[in-house]
């Protein structure tokens, strides 16, 4: 287990390093940060001065290692637009995004796991068909459009919820629904598949044969085993959700990291964009790292291979 953990940790570090290098290169090669900072109207001399002041005239690799060294110590540079430290800026906005992410993934689980279990207990029944129908529909629904339709119906027609902002818990309801439904179909399908597989296993037949109550068989014996892959999928979906938060937070004007991403992208604020890509991918890397460890711990076959 220790060997597996170390190996997996090394991989995670290598992935993080590669992602940071690619995103750094992508952003800094395809644009001239000096022009972005000085503005379109600046003279050539001004641009040159900024270039030298910030060291943009150095080779890209030198700039990257310089940036990386600082990033390691938590310094992601200064935002061109907000004129503050990028790390402080992201840290401040991340709490809103985390609140949204946790409530959305909770919503998705509460919606999809019971539905998946119910569908698996009676395959091809009405409830199975409804579950399948909902997941097919859900996958085709563009989140930005779903968000707007919710605003039209819940806020404007029924006047139930506030349309935008992040002041009260009510502001989080619609964003939670929009972000959560996105992850629900995948979790539902995997729960259903897992339950179907487990329910046909020999030990379930044994449990039934020795006369255990159906509820005990279902929840204590079957669901526990079926839920193992669901846990790691949920971790992955949670990571993907941060990416989805850009669209959702922009529509509902929820001032989280996703909204910050949109703000900094439209303002050519490269250090902030670069910092956000790093934070978002680190988050995903850490989540999948723990999901893999959990899987290896639960299923010894993984760590031996």
């Amino acid at each position: 287990m220790l060997y597996y953990t170390l190996k997996r940790l090394g991989l995670a570090g290598l992935v993080a390093l590669t992602v940071s290098f690619i995103s750094f290169g992508l952003l800094y090669i395809s644009s001239d940060p000096a022009i972005a900072m000085a503005g379109e109207t600046a003279s050539d001399a001004d641009i040159e001065a900024i270039r030298q002041l910030y060291g943009f005239d150095r080779p890209i690799l030198v700039q990257y290692f310089d940036w990386l060294q600082r990033a390691m110590s938590g310094d992601l540079g200064k935002s061109y637009y907000f004129r503050t430290d990028v790390s402080a800026l992201i840290a401040e906005r991340l709490s809103t995004t985390m609140t949204l992410g946790v409530s959305a993934i909770t919503f998705a689980i509460v919606l999809s796991v019971p539905l998946g279990v119910a569908a698996a207990i009676r395959p091809n029944s009405l409830i199975d068909r409804i579950a399948l129908f909902l997941s097919v529909m859900g996958q085709a629904l563009p989140s930005f459009w779903f968000a707007l339709m919710l605003i039209v119906f819940l806020s404007v027609s029924l006047r139930l919820l506030p349309t935008s902002g992040s002041d009260t818990w009510q502001h989080f309801i619609m964003p939670t629904i929009v972000l959560g439904y996105y992850a629900a179909p995948a979790i539902m399908r995997l729960t259903r598949t897992g339950m179907l597989e487990v329910l046909s296993a020999d030990y379930i037949r044994t449990a039934r044969a020795k006369g255990l109550r159906p509820r005990v068989v279902l929840f204590k014996h079957a669901l526990r085993n079926a839920v193992i892959p669901v846990v790691s999928l949920t971790a992955v979906q949670f990571g993907f959700m941060l990416g989805g938060s850009i669209v959702v937070e922009t529509i509902f004007a929820l001032h989280g990291a996703g909204f910050l991403a949109w703000e900094s992208i439209t303002r050519n604020d490269l250090p902030t964009v670069q910092g956000l890509i790093l934070v978002f991918s680190l988050f995903y890397i850490v989540l999948t790292f723990f999901a893999d460890l959990l899987n290896a711990w639960l299923d010894p076959r993984i760590r031996i291979n």
Binding site: V19, F144, L148, V152
Partner: protein, 296 residues
Amino acid sequence: MSEIDSEVLESQTKSSAFRRRILGHQGVMIGAAIVLAAVLIALSAPFIAPHDPYYQDLLNRLVPPVWDSRGSWEHILGTDHLGRDYLSRLIYGARISLLIGVGAALISGLIGTVLGVAAGYFGGRVDMVVTFMITVRLSMPVVLVALAVVAIVGGSLQVVIMVLGFLLWDRFAVVMRSSTLQIRSMDYVAAAQAVGCSTTRILTTEIMPNVVNNLIVIATLEIAHAIILEAALSFLGLGVQPPLPSWGLMVSEGKDMMLFEPWLITIPGVALFLLVLAINLLGDGARDITAPENRN
């Protein structure tokens, strides 16, 4: 009955059974009908669109659709905030969605297939490198990276296709790798190697024909994925640029007036939803038919 006859008969019943499976699959039939309609509409857009999708008639702005009491048959789906005919824009929008979906899937399919097949066939170091590349790709937030690149390079149809093509190859690579791994251990591949076939020949005549079904399924689902992402990028103003009639852009342009004229966002949204739903139904159905064992 001679041996040859029974072989012919068997292959006939096989293909007719296959046809019956397609025709009996509701999802595939519905999906195929909608996709076919969308493709025909996109191809014949200049002939069936009632108006020029770019012509602005500022005196006839925000005319509601025909089912509204203020609507008219002149503009069946009404006009937008610049007086452009909504139906014509919707028809031309189908071209953009399909072009981006197919274009992005072609690029990502090529990248993913080359990487996946190489990893599955050669294994060892090649596999390690490709698996690492997939992990790196999955760790990068797609929407964020796509938005950032489009913002820097500038939005256009070609840029969006390229960006999505270079970002969405992960699922192709994962599936092609595992399918190739499976085929690679078959006896006929070993036989081909034993008679001294070149690697190129084994890859093209033994491996590819056997993984192509899975490739088609993933390609279909990735087309839908790319279409939905393009709409989201354009909606955020960092995808296809005005005045092109992208459906995502139409929703974006209508959203300021959605409280008074909700049809402005309902119509392009429903079109987008239907197209993506149909493509997904087709892809899911194709998997049920070609590989029923992978259904779940």
